[in-house]
């Protein structure tokens, strides 16, 4: 296996990427060099360089290439090694990505990869905001794109800091926060030291009184909303996910297996097909964080992903 630098001109930007080539030393990087093969395209986090946090993206691409799957990672305009402008504040960049700003870049890139290297088909993967891009690009580039791998997919807009999206969205963010706090409280109840603190009076009872009131309010709001998506949901991504998964496109998803994160994704299960559709494989990884590197998460991803691709796209 050998890493090679590749460059593609897309919409006036010189995209710099890395091809993890299973063919190793001595094999030339020429047009059609991986003709007939299944490839994997990896799109990173919002603002991170293409290796990802903890170099997980680079390590994943090494693992898939060692399994025989040519794998590519690219920096997007203004990020990593690619020149260009990006918004001043991170939240503005995230909002742009959530609105699909990288999709018009990735779509022609996919076309170029197909033409230049001769791939028979492609699996597309994305992390967080990259998952938004991957899902939307998968829809427009079927049937060439045949599978989606999503790492901690972003399914809600970053609205609170910017104050956009209206009161309904802000209200939903509050509900989300309440759900997370309830999850944490529930975890604490099951620990002996929490009861010791409670019985010794070392607890802020006011906090828990407020939590109960807010939980009731959030519960009523949830019942009122029914099956409708929360106001801050990225509806286009969820609708696309539902459409693709409903038509049988395989999805492999990795998420943080914490109570808070599980509560977040549970809201969208009607759209993601988690636990319902056989073509949606979901791994909620314990003891890890959003970068999915610590707590054994990276090792699990490196072991599972190549095997899943080979089994799903033989």
């Amino acid at each position: 296996m050998k890493r090679r630098i590749v460059e593609h001109q897309v919409l006036g930007a010189r995209l710099v990427g890395t091809l993890h080539d299973p063919r190793g030393d001595g094999a030339a990087l020429v047009d059609g060099c991986v003709s007939g093969k299944t490839g994997l395209l990896c799109l990173n986090f919002g603002q991170q360089p293409r290796a990802w946090h903890g170099d997980l993206g680079a390590r994943l691409a090494d693992a898939t290439a060692q399994a025989g799957i040519p794998t590519l990672r690219f920096d997007m305009p203004g990020l990593g090694d690619v020149d260009g402008t990006v918004p001043t504040y991170l939240e503005e960049l995230w909002l742009e990505l959530q609105r699909g700003q990288h999709v018009p870049v990735v779509e022609p890139l996919i076309d170029q990869l197909r033409q230049r290297y001769g791939f028979a088909r492609l699996a597309i993967s994305g992390f967080c905001g990259g998952a938004v891009t991957a899902i939307l690009a998968a829809r427009s580039r079927r049937p060439f794109v045949q599978a989606v791998i999503a790492f901690e997919p972003e399914l809600a807009y970053t609205l609170v800091a910017l104050g956009g999206g209206g009161e309904a969205a802000v209200e939903h963010k509050r509900e989300e926060l309440v759900r997370e706090r309830i999850s944490v409280a529930w975890q604490r109840i099951r620990r002996p030291e929490a009861w010791r603190r409670l019985l010794s009076g070392g607890v802020d009872f006011g906090y828990y009184r407020r939590l109960v009131r807010e939980a009731a309010r959030a519960g009523f709001a949830s019942v009122r909303r029914g099956k409708a998506l929360p106001a801050d949901a990225i509806a286009e991504v969820l609708e696309t996910w539902r459409e693709l998964a409903g038509k049988g496109m395989p999805f492999l998803v990795y998420s943080v297996g914490s109570a808070q994160r599980e509560a977040f994704y549970r809201v969208y299960e009607d759209y993601t097909g988690r636990g319902r559709l056989p073509n949606v494989t979901w791994h909620a990884l314990p003891d890890t964080n959003h970068t999915l590197v610590i707590g054994g998460a990276a090792e699990r991803i490196l072991e599972t992903t190549p095997r899943w691709i080979l089994q799903t796209l033989p």
């Binding site: 050998k2 890493r3 090679r4 630098i5 460059e7 710099v16 890395t18 603002q47 991170q48 360089p49 293409r50 290796a51 990802w52 946090h53 903890g54 170099d55 997980l56 680079a58 090494d62 990020l79 990593g80 090694d81 020149d83 990006v86 918004p87 001043t88 504040y89 991170l90 939240e91 503005e92 960049l93 800091a161 620990r191 002996p192 030291e193 003891d287 890890t288 964080n289 970068t291 590197v293 610590i294 707590g295």
Partner: protein
């Protein structure tokens, strides 16, 4: 000024070292080799350092920057390398400029890279030395970074008993590798860190024209640590993390000093 960027791999004992060169269209006035921060701080600093390389090239200086073996775009596994190996990567990068140099060579260390740049400078590998936020030693750097592991344990570990920093150090010294800030630290890395202190040649005292060190403010902390996210206050005074941290003043000041280095060498020549 026009400039070009080139991305490539250099083979170092079977490992692919990722090297980026930014070259001005005209003949360069100085060559700058940038040794970057410790691996966990690469993601947050990368955009700024890439911009810095392009900025310098647009100002007429040739730049080489690279990823340490086992980190980022360089191949290999982080846990297979030590600080001594990463110093060797800096000397490899310097070697790419060749022996015949008609312009001054500036060794520029960012964070951990400053320790390596200073060592190389002391070994007479460069004409000038620039340091951004360099730690006193690699051992200090690792000890500080262990705080990230302790913080992570508080959030993510469900067991009642949590380890202390001394517990983790004892594990490292006993040969158990530990996970810190998304990377696996080994005993070899820990022991090797003792040999890497920031050392400036004594003859340089007072010679700001040849060596200059910048202490980084909060706005620049993202270049060398995970705790700084390049925050800035918006018009409503809320501190918000930035995609493009405000490093322009640091860039301008450092460029001004580099231009003086280049001009002095030209005068001497």
């Amino acid at each position: 000024m026009e400039y070009g960027s080139q991305f490539d791999y250099v083979d170092v004992a079977g490992v692919q070292l990722y090297v980026v060169r930014h070259r001005p269209a005209a003949a360069p006035r100085a060559s700058v080799v940038i040794a970057g921060p410790f691996a966990p701080y690469r993601p947050d600093s990368y955009a700024s350092l890439a911009r810095w390389g392009r900025f310098l090239a647009a100002a007429g200086h040739e730049v080489i920057r690279f990823d340490y073996r086992g980190v980022g775009e360089s191949s290999g596994r982080f846990e297979d390398f030590t600080f001594s190996d990463w110093y060797a990567d800096l000397t490899t990068a310097v070697g790419l400029l060749g022996n015949q140099r008609s312009v001054p060579l500036v060794l520029h260390g960012v964070g951990l890279g400053g320790i390596f740049a200073a060592r190389a400078f002391g070994a007479l590998q460069g004409d000038a030395l620039a340091l951004w936020g360099s730690p006193r030693s690699a051992r200090n750097l690792m000890t500080d970074a262990l705080r990230a592991r302790l913080a992570g344990d508080l959030v993510h570990t469900t067991t009642a008993t949590r380890k202390t920093r001394d517990d983790y150090v004892a594990e490292l010294e006993a040969g158990t590798s530990i996970e810190v800030d998304d990377y696996r630290w080994t005993r070899a890395l820990w022991l090797d860190s003792e040999q890497w202190n920031l050392e400036l040649p004594a003859t340089l005292e007072g010679q700001a024209e040849r060596a200059r060190s910048w202490t980084l403010t909060q706005a620049h902390a993202h270049l060398v640590t995970a705790t700084g996210k390049g925050v800035r206050a918006d018009p409503d005074k809320k501190m918000r993390p930035m995609t493009s941290p405000a490093v322009d003043a640091l860039f301008a000041e450092t460029l001004g000093w580099l231009d003086e280095v280049a001009a002095r060498k030209k005068d001497v020549a």
